[in-house]
Amino acid sequence: MSDFVSGGDGNGGGKVGGENGGKNGDGKGADKNGVGDGLVLRARGLTKRYGRVVALDGADFDLRPREILGMIGDNGAGKSSLIKALTGAIAIDEGEMFLNGEAFRFHSPLEARRAGIETVYQNLALSPALSIADNMFMGREIRRRGFLGKYFRALDRREMQRVAREKLNDLGLMTIQNINQAVETLSGGQRQGVAVARAAAFGSRVVILDEPTAALGVKESRRVLELIQDVRARDLSVVLISHDMPHIFEVADRVHIHRLGRRLCVVDPRVHSMADAVAFMTGAREPPVEAR
């Protein structure tokens, strides 16, 4: 993976091929999925406290190879905290995590990214004053070939702009006309589109989306759902956090229901209805024993 996601300071990813734009990297990521315990990601007993607030209270998590895992839960249930813990954005107090069966702990989002895990955080993690192209390639810039790139570390801006434009078109975000436009001049939905396009383009093992459609219109949300399925078709696993039940039930293979800082149960959307899921989520009904 690291030859593709080469990020870091000033050593921009000169090796990201123009054509595939980093799509699926070298393909090895997908092959590695599913060895060991048969799970891409597994977490047990994750605990995270903020002073007296317990954001994660012994949370478990399982992500299978090539699946779309929906995640639902009330506001403040700890969904975002869980994926931040998994991706190294916050340090957990207790618990263990496994990547393809091997214990790991990321110390920064960069490490997660190098392992092929791309995340759209709820607050998007974009730099408002920088351009769309700059943001898409943040930390994995493409350097120019030849002398200028090698000795003067010159960026290949034209290539980055071309790929960025292509990725946004894939998402149907044609209303963005100028790839050099500052992100702060975009609408909320367009910003979300940029963040999703970035994650989908560069993920090579897992793509995690924390409420990626919250600000999107009907048409754009549809494109994001299609994109999620495209990503899975590339043999990646996807985690989709959303408050939009119909979206979750449309695309998810399994639905992880989060409640009060821990995983309550995992249900099969073909077996349980949305009404069931809401009842479990809010505590109105006990989840079925086999789903725990």
């Binding site: 990020g7 050593n11 920064s108 955080y121 730099s127 408002p128 700059d134 010159a154 790839i179």
Partner: protein
Amino acid sequence: MSHTPQDAPAFDARRLSPLGRVQHILHRNPTLVPVIVLLASVGAFGLLAGEKFFSPFNLSLIIQQVSIIGILAAAQSLVILTAGIDLSVAAIMVLISVITGSLAVKLNVPPSLAILCGLFAGALAGAMNGVLVTRFRLPPFIVTLGTWNIFFALNLWLSGAQSIRSQDIDEAAPLLKFFGNNIAVGGARLTYGSVLMVVIFAALWYLLNRTAWGRHVYAIGDDRDAAELAGIRTARTLISVYALAGLVCAVGAWAAIGRVGSVSPQSFYEGNLQSITAVVIGGISLFGGRGSIMGALFGALIVGVFQSGLRLIGVDVLWQVFAIGWLIILAVAIDQWIRKLAA
């Protein structure tokens, strides 16, 4: 979809009032304000003071006079772009000139080696600021307020509060005065130090705008948490920014020996604030992430032009200071106005 991406406007300019349009243009090119102010002030003083001001000799003299503060402003810009501030730039510079001068003149170290030691010490002093800011999570203002005093005290201790005289430098290490040499072009007399300042700005502009490192610097100044989540090693990048700023100050120290002719531990005491003035007048936002480093060059030149112009038309020094004060406030007001667009 018929637009080509390059020429498509980022907003619908037709719907904006003239003022709104100006705001948008400035939002995209924050350096436009200092450029206009610089050209207008050169024009105005050219009319008011005539030949005395608008001669190649006087204009090159202005560049020479601002060269040291300009170099400090280049270092300052780096730090301010990360939403920090460096109150220690001038203290680092004077400390390095004392170290370099003492090594070469008092301890008879070969001049080139003394200069190398100085450059290294400058980068180290800057890195110390960076480490304190990132690893210990202290505010840059406080850290550099502290190191300003520390470096100033070290400088007095090392020098014994004594200057190194010009003749002694000429005898022992003329290389230290290299940047005081000049090239005469027509009536203009460009010192090597003036050229050095421009070269430093050009190099830093390249780093900031054409390399990944530069993009990361802007991203950190914009929103450090977002940059971290996007996979930037923000602490490491910040340390490199402070270290580079220290290195630039050390280069400035070498140039300053050439400019002043001697090494004085008491010189450039106001350099810190003057460098911040140049950066602010240059349209670089104190909130980080916005503005071009070239703005700081124009900012330094604007200050030089006002000082020279007002002096030549016979205005008392106190009114020069008065004018600069208003320029600072005006520049910050414009920055606030431009940044409203981002909200």
